[in-house]
């Protein structure tokens, strides 16, 4: 390990030493580097291609090098490249990750160019806020996502479960138990496939019961998962997961991809993003035979008739301060977030970045439930250090301990609160 640390330090140093020379070289050659997350590669590769074509028509001869990153490690890579001065010209950041980079001066100020971005007057407010810091704009909204329950119609029918959206969490649990009774003999069957570390779904239970992750009191952050409301939500989560799920309590939503487990036909329901539905049917990795046998509904609240708040996930596009091609980077973002490309992104199962397009999906049976789910949403605390809580796996660790029964709700939330309070208040 010592070798590894030393090697990492050496890596940073060498990169730093190279800055001056490579900086001069890259200002001449006409190419820009774009870091996008793998979601675009899986879900809407045609949009990336169309944006590159449009960009190259405007700037003939300029190459676009799109590199796909995974969520687990893209920030570590970004930090190393920022230190080395060879950071990409455009980078996609999750809407929970932007604050840390804006606050530390890593992103270029785009305020003066804001008006020139497509639909900037009608940007989705929640998403646009994640790109603003101290009144300035540092990131452009890309797309948002809401999760809904995606289910296998055939299995529901065979188990005698109504395929209409359940009215309450209690009804959802009862339906799931019927499914388990019918198919539970197969040890790999889950009525609800819910990996323990899927904190986007797990924390939705907390917000449904009126709890929250943390709050600010007199300028100091405080973890609030020990509060009775939060504990009630987590207790309910444990009940649901233990009764309906045989997913790995220490696994997460991406190892393996939930949609692909669902595609195998041994899962009644999973809570996923809109793009995961078509992904499950993808002939290359999923199961096209399921087409027409899949439905979706917003996760029901424990309060009958209401919808459980969903995590408002999303992504922004930003330009690191190290870029030598700021204007080219801005032009590429404009091409990528144009009305026609955002329409395609919406049709791929996402919430587009502008309110002027939100209605596209409302009437569609495949996308409507996700739009409806987004009506009630929750978001992480707006703290400068929030990304560090995610990186430290605080919530994931707490959830897998609760769901596996390795720790009580009370002790797991206490430990998590202590960590959250410490990380959020670190200078």
């Amino acid at each position: 390990m010592r070798v590894r640390i030393v090697a990492a330090a050496a890596f940073v140093v060498v990169l730093a030493a190279v800055v001056a020379t490579s900086g001069l070289a890259s200002s001449k050659d006409q190419s820009i580097t774009v870091w996008l997350q793998v979601d675009a590669q899986n879900g809407w590769p045609d949009v990336v291609k169309a944006a590159n074509d449009a960009f190259q028509q405007q700037h003939p001869g300029v190459k676009v090098d799109v590199q796909y990153q995974t969520w687990g490690e893209h920030l570590t890579k970004l930090d190393a490249s920022l230190a080395g001065g060879d950071a990409p010209d455009v980078v996609e950041l999750g809407n929970t990750e932007t604050v840390k980079y804006m606050a530390n001066g890593a992103l270029a100020d785009l305020t003066s160019a804001k008006a020139s971005f497509p639909n900037s007057k009608t940007w989705l407010q929640g998403l646009a806020e994640s790109g603003q810091y101290n009144g300035k704009t540092y990131a452009v909204p890309y797309y948002a996502g809401a999760r809904a329950a995606i289910y296998n119609i055939d299995l529901y029918k065979q188990a005698g479960v109504s395929t209409r959206a359940p009215k309450s969490l209690a009804q959802f649990l009862a339906n799931g138990k019927k499914l388990m009774k019918k198919f539970g003999g197969n040890p790999n069957f889950s009525a609800l496939y819910l990996p323990g570390r899927d904190w986007y779904v797990g924390l939705s239970f907390v917000y449904d019961y009126g709890g929250q992750i943390a709050k600010q009191v007199n300028g100091k952050w405080q973890g609030t998962l020990e509060a009775p409301q939060a504990q009630a939500g987590l207790t309910e989560l444990k009940t649901v997961a233990r009764a309906l799920s045989r997913a790995n309590p220490t696994g997460d939503e991406a190892h393996p991809q939930e949609a692909l487990v669902f595609a195998k036909g041994t899962v009644g329901t999973f809570v996923g993003n809109g793009w995961e539905w078509p992904y499950a049917l993808d002939p290359k990795v999923g199961n096209p035979a399921l087409a027409g046998h899949v439905g979706a509904f917003p996760m029901p609240s424990h309060t009958p008739g209401k919808v459980m708040p969903t995590f408002l996930g999303g992504s922004d596009l930003a330009v690191p301060v190290t870029t030598k091609n700021k204007q080219l980077a801005i032009d590429w973002i404009k091409a990528f977030t144009s009305t026609s490309e955002e329409t395609k992104i919406a049709l791929a199962g996402n919430i587009p970045n502008t309110t002027s397009l939100v209605k596209i999906n409302a009437g569609k049976p495949t996308l409507g439930p996700f739009a409806k789910a987004a009506e009630a949403s929750w978001f992480v605390p707006a703290a400068k250090n929030w990304a560090n809580v995610e990186n430290a796996n605080v919530l994931q660790s707490m959830l897998s301990k609760i769901i596996s029964g390795h720790a009580s709700v009370a002790s797991a939330t206490k430990a998590a609160d202590a960590q959250i309070t410490q990380i959020l208040n670190a200078s």
Partner: protein
């Protein structure tokens, strides 16, 4: 004669400077030969180490990273380290883990080495082959094989334990309970470390004089007594070297835990090395992470001291 005279006279005429130059040259030559190696080590190890020491005295977060300029805070990071409850937990866990893995490696390695002296040549060849294959397996490959063996859904371990009616291990998650998880990791580390110990000790055992062992046997000494009073004292230097090397290796375990835990270990699975990496790259606390790493280096220097002292003693014999 003139020639001869010249030859005999010349050294007498300028004896001192020439001889001194030759002696000086001879004395400097080894250092000259060492220079390239020293320069490489200084460049790839010394300089980064110097930078890491410097970082550990600085406040160096994401902001400083982008500015390429740290802020000197003296012993601030180390003061924080002393009061960091998690650091002490992790350090204690690392020491415990090192103790268990080194103990198991040495005990099992010795037993296998002793076994190798008893079995037939063909069996010995087979055993050596198996050991070398395990030794030659790259760590990431080994970790991935273990990963699949203890997989939640498809793992052969769960299948085997269920089939053998040890219990219902279907969908058993080996990493929910950290003790079990560390059990899996310990097996992987010990499995990977045994070959070197066993082969080295076997080589050592073959150097123990047979007459001594036979004499002891004739005197009626039992095998344990023979091992304790004859083999062990003779092989002590090898044991000391192997133990200190094992401590150095096991103390800095990183890759195996990292891969087995999906590259996102939770705090139950932190060792000192992983903690340093997490502080540095996940929390963007480059200065503090360096302080953690430096503390590791200092602890390992202590172990290295024993190792080098033993090496020098062997050299003297």
């Amino acid at each position: 004669m003139a020639d001869l005279g010249a030859v005999t006279v010349e050294p007498a005429a300028t004896p001192a400077p020439r001889l001194r130059r030759a002696r000086l040259g001879r004395a400097l030559a080894p250092y000259g030969l060492l220079l390239p190696a020293a320069a490489v080590i200084g460049g790839v190890l010394g300089y980064p180490l110097y930078l890491m020491v410097k970082l550990s005295f600085e406040r160096y977060g994401l902001f400083q990273l982008i500015q390429h300029k740290g802020q000197w805070i003296g012993l601030g990071n180390y003061r924080q380290l002393v009061h960091d409850h998690e650091f002490w937990t992790v350090l204690l866990r690392t020491l415990l883990f090192t103790g268990v893995t080194v103990g198991l490696t040495m005990a099992l390695g010795t037993l296998i080495a002793l076994l190798m002296t008893r079995v037939s040549a063909a069996m010995r060849l087979l055993l050596t082959l198996a050991l070398v294959l395990a030794w030659a397996m790259p760590v990431p490959v080994a970790a991935n094989i273990w990963y699949w063996m203890v997989d939640y859904e498809f793992g052969v371990a769960n299948w085997l334990l269920t089939t053998l009616h040890v219990g219902n291990y279907q969908h058993h998650d080996w990493f929910v309970n950290p003790w079990q998880g560390w059990g899996v990791i310990t097996t992987l580390i010990v499995w990977g470390a045994i070959p070197f110990v066993a082969i080295t000790l076997y080589a050592g055992l073959s150097q123990v004089p047979q007459e001594l062992l036979q004499a002891a046997a004739i005197d009626g000494a039992r095998p344990w007594r023979v091992f304790k009073d004859i083999t062990l004292p003779i092989l002590k230097p090898i044991f000391v070297i192997l133990t200190s090397l094992s401590i150095i290796w096991d103390f800095q375990v990183f890759t195996q835990v990292w891969l087995l835990r999906d590259e996102r270990p939770t705090s139950d699975y932190f060792l000192t090395g992983i903690y340093a990496f997490e502080q540095t790259f996940s929390q963007s606390e480059y200065g503090y992470g360096s302080a953690v790493a430096i503390s590791m280096v200092l602890i390992l220097l202590g172990v290295t001291f024993f190792y080098i002292r033993q090496m020098i003693r062997i050299g003297e014999v």
